[in-house]
């Protein structure tokens, strides 16, 4: 599916941001976001609700404009013109469709509004999904709507597919069907995918690139393989995390009176024989970064509050 590594490096990244930020009123939904998701991958964007995933994806398709920083999609500005719009397919959260139009009319909508529309592909998918083409879209189940929306996005033959929590409200069977359809399309067409979810288990199967977003900031990004190789769980006698050698960064630490368990990002192998080294699952890794972000957020808020009380604005706690 992917080209040789050297050729892939020359391709423009699927999604590239530099210091990207989006503010609503006084609250920053996304702040200081810098990442570069390479093309030819299925990238998972994971984080708790309200972390800024939806904001980032909507910035990527031009539904929102950045407050600060810049974002580039396939080397161009999002939604700059018909050419850029045609290269990116989008499925929004809770998959909006026109409830008065039938399934067939939605396909015609795609054909009318997209020059690269592949009608044969669309019809094949609809037939394989057993959707009644005369059914009004408003009467479809959640899973069927999601499949219809995905079909519309796929049949315009995009180079990049952006999916905002596409399986969040689906039952397990519908969820699996959706991902199967998606992976088939990736295998067939080589389309890059960026999809967001707060369910890590789904992402583990399909993603080979990961972005963890929490508290409106990017926590970690990288190829899943590299991330899993670089992060380990160390169990051993109680130790101060600050005493670890350079090149080993503690993400999460928990201690009992005798024992320390650390989740560590390491540049090289662990040589210290006192530690038991274990591989992490993707879920463990994501949770570690999310809880680190949560702690940082609490510290930030506490210092903000004490700062306020110091300036005489009230008694804290």
């Amino acid at each position: 599916m992917t080209a040789a590594p050297e050729a892939a490096a020359l391709e423009a990244p699927a999604l590239e941001t530099t210091g990207l930020g989006k503010r609503y009123g006084r609250k920053w939904a996304l702040a200081d976001c810098t990442l570069a998701i390479p093309a030819g991958h299925v990238a998972g964007l994971v984080g708790p609700n309200g972390a800024g995933k939806s904001t980032l994806l909507q910035l990527a398709v031009g539904l929102l404009r950045p407050t600060s920083g810049s974002i580039q999609v396939l080397g161009g500005r999002p939604a700059a013109g018909p050419g850029e719009l045609a290269k990116v397919g989008f499925v929004a959260q809770d998959t909006p469709v026109y409830s008065a139009l039938s399934v067939r009319e939605h396909l015609r909508l795609g054909a009318w509004l997209n020059p690269r529309w592949d009608n044969a592909l669309a019809e094949r998918r609809i037939a394989a999904l057993d959707l009644d083409r005369n059914q009004r879209a408003g009467r479809l189940s959640g899973g069927q709507r999601a499949q219809l929306a995905l079909t519309l996005a796929l049949a315009k033959r995009p180079e990049l597919l952006i999916l905002d929590e596409p399986v969040a409200s689906l039952d397990p069977l519908a969820r699996r069907d959706f991902l199967r359809l998606l992976m088939e399309a990736v295998a067939e067409t080589g389309v890059s995918v960026v999809l967001s979810s707060h369910l890590v288990a789904d992402l583990e199967r399909v993603c080979d690139y990961l972005v963890v977003l929490a508290a409106a900031h990017v926590q970690v990004t990288g190829e899943v393989e590299d991330l899993l190789a670089a992060h380990v769980r160390l169990t051993g006698p109680r130790r101060d995390p600050a005493q670890l050698p350079a090149g080993q960064h503690v993400i999460e630490a928990s201690h009992t009176d005798r024992q320390s368990t650390l989740i560590v990002r390491t540049d090289g192998p662990i040589h210290d024989p006192a530690w038991t080294v274990e591989q992490l699952s993707l879920e463990d890794l994501v949770l570690a970064y999310m809880s680190q972000a949560g702690r940082a957020e609490r510290v930030r808020k506490a210092s903000f509050r004490t700062g306020k009380s110091r300036s005489g604005m009230g008694v804290s706690r």
């Binding site: 398709v61 939604a79 013109g81 018909p82 719009l85 929004a92 909006p96 026109y98 009318w112 509004l113």
Partner: protein, 358 residues
């Protein structure tokens, strides 16, 4: 995009044009009858000396249709604004379908431009057709006596309804874009439409062209005779803006050939005073000796001296009016104003959707 727009508006468009067809049928049936009535009776009424009764009957002929057409033409533009304009974008924003529509392969600007253009033209065409039919149907009645420039008649004839429809539609879309919710946008459209029409009818239209003025002498009737008729416009179809009584300096001192008197009365009142006769509210009669008095039955009234007094004081009647010959000037002007406003609103919408809604 054109086919998609048609598909989305299909049901409503069919209703609108279907109703238009029904109205056309009704008018096609009754119109010739109206024309025939006019030709047979009203045109020849002078010869039969029954103009009064015939004209009265004509005014009530087909009164159901007459009464219905006015409100229809009044309400049609604002309906376009409410049901085609307000939901155009507001509905997409409310239901979230804009996230589907604006991530296809055409830009928001083009998407909106096509929708605005197609639906705007459809609304304008419907309004134009209806207005055409109504103007044709009413033409015998208009020929009889109604001034086509008066409010209530002017805006239901000719080409101005096209402008009203365009404006109401454009405002509806704008309200939907800014307010982002359909129902409040509909309400705002009604308010704006009513306000704009009132402003245009009473605040702009009378002064679009400088009105004409004619003056004439104020005639006193005899003590036992009827009052002479007030000043009339040259053409019975002219639009009379006001009929005033003015003094020598040109200041308005009363209406319709009467003078405003203290105590709220209107009339022409001569008063006896220590230095002769004076015209109430104006001044002393210069041609009457200081010792004269008015007594009931005196022959001062018959002598014409009072009439001379009025003339010498410079009290006259003045008629301010717009001539009917300006009818089409007015139509084109008002059409241009409303179309211009619609164009400004449409440009604003395009700008807002592209720059601000992101």
């Amino acid at each position: 995009m054109i086919q998609l727009t048609w598909r989305q508006i299909r049901a409503q468009a069919l209703v609108a044009y279907g109703l238009l067809a029904v109205i056309a049928v009704v008018l096609a049936i009754t119109g010739p009858k109206v024309a025939h009535f006019y030709d047979a009776y009203v045109a020849t009424c002078a010869a039969h000396s029954d103009c009064g009764t015939v004209q009265n009957a004509f005014l009530h002929y087909q009164h159901v249709v007459q009464a219905a057409l006015g409100p229809i033409l009044l309400v049609l533009p604002v309906l376009f604004g409410m049901f085609w304009g307000a939901p155009l974008i507001a509905r997409e924003l409310e239901t979230g379908t804009f996230r589907l529509a604006w991530t296809q392969s055409l830009t928001r600007g083009r998407w909106l431009a096509v929708k605005l253009g197609l639906l705007g033209l459809a609304a304008m065409a419907a309004a134009g057709l209806l207005s055409l039919m109504v103007t044709w149907w009413f033409s015998p009645l208009d020929r009889m006596n109604l001034s086509r420039l008066t409010p209530g008649v002017f805006d239901e004839r000719g080409i101005v309804p096209i402008g009203y429809a365009a404006f109401a539609f454009a405002f509806g879309v704008t309200a939907g874009v800014v307010i982002r919710r359909t129902v409040p946008a509909m309400a705002a459209t009604i308010v704006a439409y009513v306000g704009a029409r009132l402003a245009a009818t009473y605040g702009i239209r009378p002064y679009l062209f400088a009105p004409l003025r004619i003056t004439s002498a104020l005639q006193l009737g005899g003590p036992n005779g009827p009052s002479p008729p007030g000043l009339g416009a040259p053409n019975p179809a002219d639009w009379v803006l006001s009929s005033n009584t003015i003094n020598a300096a040109g200041r308005v001192i009363g209406q319709n050939g009467a003078i405003n008197m203290p105590g709220g009365n209107q009339g022409i009142g001569f008063q006896s005073g220590s230095n002769g006769i004076s015209l109430g509210g104006v001044g002393r009669c210069p041609n009457i000796p200081a010792s004269a008095k008015i007594r009931p039955g005196s022959n001062l009234g018959r002598s014409g001296a009072l009439q001379t007094c009025i003339d010498r004081l410079g009290v006259r009647q003045e008629l301010v009016y717009q001539p009917i010959s300006r009818f089409w000037d007015y139509q084109w002007c008002e059409l241009a104003i409303f179309l211009g406003a619609a164009a400004v609103l449409a440009a604003f919408c395009l700008w807002w959707v592209r720059r601000r809604l992101a």
